[in-house]
């Protein structure tokens, strides 16, 4: 019996898995190196997923959608759930051949709420550079579709303010230290070249 349980336990699938990326780990070079991706995605992101699975096992959170866990938890569970979600949102918005500017509904909203696309990028850049310590810069939409930019510490995510996250810039040092050392501004400038606005457009229309 014990043996059977052990086997069942062994073959049980983890609830959350590292998402597949639509590009190779070296696809974002030279802006983001393969080595950074190997640590950031295969180690850091994986660790958040593994910790999340361990924390929810056998609890009421096991059957909750990830977004609900994020909105209804704190401490290590919140940290690992939010960081699992944040990194998926981050990596899936990057591309080797990104669409450089948004069109359509999102482009109009950006113009309306920031004045221009360049102003929007400027605000995001400022939020990302100014965040002290570890965290993220976010572009988010409210229920009316109005856009705003905010820096948030550690694992924090606009969802906790009832906003829909659209785009994020990871400014934990692990996101850029191998490639850029202390030069966070250089990393942010480079990252813009890899952000795929086609993905952000879709997130905005799907919200």
């Amino acid at each position: 019996m014990v043996k059977l349980l052990l086997i069942l336990n062994f073959i049980a699938m983890p609830i959350y898995e590292l998402p597949k990326l639509p590009y190779e780990l070296d696809a974002l070079e030279p802006q983001i190196s393969k080595e950074t991706m190997e640590y950031h995605y295969l180690k850091h992101h994986q660790a958040y997923v593994t910790n999340l699975n361990n924390l929810i096992e056998g609890t009421k959170y096991e059957k909750m959608p990830l977004e609900e866990i994020i909105k209804n938890s704190d401490g290590p569970l919140f940290n690992n759930a939010a960081q699992t979600w944040n990194h998926t949102n981050f990596f899936l918005a990057l591309s080797a051949n990104p669409k450089a500017r948004p069109d359509g509904e999102l482009a109009k909203a950006i113009e309306r709420d920031f004045g221009s696309f360049d102003k929007c990028k400027e605000e995001m850049t400022k939020a990302a550079q100014g965040l002290f310590g570890s965290g993220w810069a976010w572009l988010a939409a409210d229920s009316e579709g109005k856009l705003s930019v905010m820096p948030m510490s550690n694992g924090q995510n606009p969802m906790i303010k009832n906003l829909t996250p659209l785009l994020c810039i990871d400014v934990w040092e692990h996101a850029y230290y191998i490639d850029y050392r202390n030069r966070r501004p250089d990393y942010i400038t480079a990252l813009w070249d890899k952000i795929d606005w086609a993905v952000i457009e879709k997130r905005y229309s799907d919200r």
Binding site: A47, G133, W172, H174, Y177, I178, R181
Partner: protein, 199 residues
């Protein structure tokens, strides 16, 4: 008076293999220097605050004018913490404390090993950027951690030992393996300096 970067009491490569030369160089000449530059800039229009030592400055955060309080907390904390950190490290460090500090650690934690385990836990579980500390709080020794560059001095505690767990402190050498960096740290703790702070 403006704040200036204190010299390291050893060479940049002196703490190898536990902390590598490149990490020490960037940590000291870039990160620490940036905190000092930002602190000086914040205090530029407040000459009355410029004569104090950085430790005095951050020990009374309620006296810092509101417009520059966050800048002083982050950058004054960063300057104080790093100045402290360089001094409690040594290429001839490691081992265990002696005399009064050894007794106090035994009294507070049961044993040196228990203390180390508690300190390691504080350093490992600090989420994001921050520091793990051994502090003296009215004669009682405790271990805890602070976020970002918050210093125990800001809450009336005297730091005795501190470990920087910002990723910039270990990423070039240890990458995501923070526990390996924490274990290595014990080989370079300058217990003489820690004991001095306990007098």
């Amino acid at each position: 008076m403006t704040y200036t970067l204190p010299e390291l009491p050893y060479a940049y490569d002196a703490l190898e293999p536990y902390i590598d030369k490149e990490t020490m160089t960037i940590h000291h000449t870039k990160h620490h220097q940036t905190y000092i530059n930002n602190l000086n800039a914040a205090l530029e229009n407040y000459p009355e605050l410029q004569g104090e030592s950085v430790d005095e400055l951050i020990s009374n955060m309620n006296l810092i004018p509101e417009p520059i309080r966050t800048a002083v907390r982050n950058n004054g904390g960063g300057h104080s913490n790093h100045s402290f950190f360089w001094k409690i490290l040594s290429p001839n460090g490691g081992g265990q404390p002696s005399d009064k500090l050894a007794t106090a650690i035994n009294d507070s934690f049961g044993s040196f090993e228990n203390f180390q385990a508690e300190f390691n836990k504080a350093a490992t579980t600090r989420f994001g950027s921050g520091w793990a500390w051994l502090v003296n709080e009215n004669g009682k020794l405790t271990v805890y951690s602070t976020a970002n560059q918050d210093s125990p001095l800001m809450e009336g505690k005297t730091p005795l030992l501190g470990l920087d767990v910002w990723e910039h402190a270990y990423y070039l050498h240890y990458q995501n393996r923070r526990p390996d960096y924490i274990n290595a740290f014990w080989n370079i703790v300058n217990w003489n300096e820690v004991e001095k702070r306990f007098q």
